[in-house]
Amino acid sequence: MAKVIVLTSGKGGVGKTTSAAAIASGLALRGNRTVVIDFDVGLRNLDLIMGCERRVVFDFINVINGDAKLNQALIKDKRNDNLYIFPTSQTRDKDALKRDGVERVLNELKESFDYIVCDSPAGIEHGAITALYFADSAIITTNPEVSSVRDSDRIIGILASKSRRAEHNMEPVDVHLLLTRYSLERVKKGEMLSVEDVKEILSIPLLGVIPESESVLRASNTGIPVVFDEESPAGRAYVDAVARFLGEQREMRFVQPERRSFFRALLGRA
């Protein structure tokens, strides 16, 4: 059964699109047929992050309105055969994202994909609510910073009350915390909220910690999701997060001083 995953945060600029691109790519790399959908109508950016901006012909709104077929709008990723990108429209009409239309398109996608990754716009308006409404799982993208944590808490509340699963008294959306732009150095100096702090405050299970990394900007500059960069600490952290999402147990990296892992390497442990 296909699973709908929403990347959401409330606050903007925390790394939702970067994470959606990385996680969708990571799922595809593990052999899952995956589509990543941009729900940010009017502010299309997933195409740029995925490096397919010049291949967009039809979009999500065209398909919802019946102006194009699904297979005309889906863009096949050049790096991985399991991965498809579903760009959104640059229209300024935010209400173009009609809930019944979205449901119809998602149901059609469920027939041919294992994972449907929804990249939510910021805020708690129509677009963000539509993006999370049909979710089975939610990945709450959070920065270790007060306004981001507060907005994440608000979004967790909305998932628990306004999602389809909540409205139909179904099993609740399973929520995961993805802590991005984490700087161990600053945490150690007491300048930044720690993983433990954020986990304790939001009290949801931790999917991964993505370290602040130069490679993330390089990835967006070049339009290659960061998981394809095997040298990148952020890329490796996303690969781990995907493995955990698929049920594997993996130790959190980049949350302990590097020295420890050096000793572990000496002892012959991973």
Binding site: V146, R150, G157, L193, I201
Partner: protein, 117 residues
């Protein structure tokens, strides 16, 4: 500067300040998010009733919904310490008698603000 930081670590550690501020603000926001919609109206009515007997300001009466084990609790706190009492008028009780009959819940019936599971 370093020595000062060592002597007063809390001056430096802004992450602790962030954590404590978040805990407080989120505790408030979560409570009001889960609160039933009728709380403000109930608070106003209670203020009217209590106000017939003692002089009371809005901030002296607090209404909350909480949970204790399996039981949802409607908690009403009225602060009347030092408040001036008013002479009881007959009108007050007469008005109460004319009011709509009180609906009582049988034991086992969930209170109206409890979400059906």
């Amino acid at each position: 500067m370093r020595l000062l930081d060592l002597l007063f670590p809390e001056r430096r550690n802004s992450a602790v300040i962030a954590r404590d501020r978040l805990k407080i603000v989120l505790a408030h926001e979560r409570a009001s998010r889960d609160a039933p919609d009728f709380l403000p109206a109930l608070q106003k009515d209670l203020l009217d009733v209590v106000g017939r007997y003692v002089e009371i300001r809005g901030d002296m009466l607090r209404v909350n919904v909480g949970k204790s084990g399996d039981t949802s609790l409607l908690e009403i706190n009225v602060e009347i310490d030092g408040a001036k009492t008013k002479p009881v008028k007959n009108g007050a009780t007469a008005a109460a008698a004319k009011a709509a009959p009180v609906t009582r819940l049988d034991r086992g019936t969930p209170a109206p603000w409890v979400k059906p599971s």
